[in-house]
């Protein structure tokens, strides 16, 4: 929620180096371009934004970088209209409240998941291994 906005490049460098990856100008620019916005973006949107800046970045590089970041746990994806949307977010937390008006994405505290889990295992006799939830509505600002 806060640690990420400090020093994109040092954080990123450490994370990449630890996994045998390199810190390139392109990767840095891509991360800067969407690290601090709490919203889902498509690869094409990101590419368009970067293209507007300075010299060129290939669309394929955007895709490859996003996939790398996803492997590193820095990015979550979501599908929408046959398009993959990417969100720079804290690892291992997959409940998001998406504002349908401004697009802002907030993390959802999910204590209630444990309750769900109990209900499933007793009621349905279903052993929950993984869940995926997405919430849409209006954030505090837009309500």
């Amino acid at each position: 929620m806060k640690a990420r906005s400090e020093r994109p490049d040092s954080v990123l460098r450490a994370r990449l180096a630890g996994t045998g990856h390199r810190l390139t100008k392109q990767r840095l620019r891509i991360v800067e371009a969407f690290a601090n916005q709490r919203r889902y973006v498509s690869a094409r949107q990101l590419h368009a934004r970067l293209r507007a800046q300075t010299n060129n970045i290939g669309l394929a590089t955007v895709y490859r970088t996003l996939e790398t970041l996803r492997e590193l746990g820095l990015v979550t994806t979501s599908q929408h209209d046959g398009e993959t949307l990417y969100l720079f977010c804290a690892p291992a937390h997959h409940h998001h409240a998406v504002c349908t008006h401004c697009g802002r994405v907030d993390d959802v505290p999910c204590r209630a998941v444990a309750r769900f889990e109990r209900m499933l295992s007793t009621g349905l006799r279903f052993r929950l291994m993984q869940h995926q939830m997405e919430f849409y509505g209006l954030c505090a600002r837009c309500a």
Copy 2:
């Protein structure tokens, strides 16, 4: 949960006629092919299954029919690996427990959603309009 397995064609005919659609052999065959299985299938899988039967059905027809059924509220979709998966299911219930072993899909009773909603509106000050959840694990049979 049960009404659908009775008479696919009469139910379907009524639903289609009421919305200005026609009951064709193809639509009937498509519905029969997956109405009673509680699992997500892709258009291609469905098409392959139908092709194995008797005379041909075009893949495009499968897509168009699935889209029509979705508009009628008889089918829910989910994305997986860039593919759209379709589930014949009760309208207006969007919480499913998917068995990762056998693929069976059960409805999830979701009383707890109200609790979530309350938490979101007070804690995050987020006005929940829509939510989408999917649960993966092992069903009673496979556990």
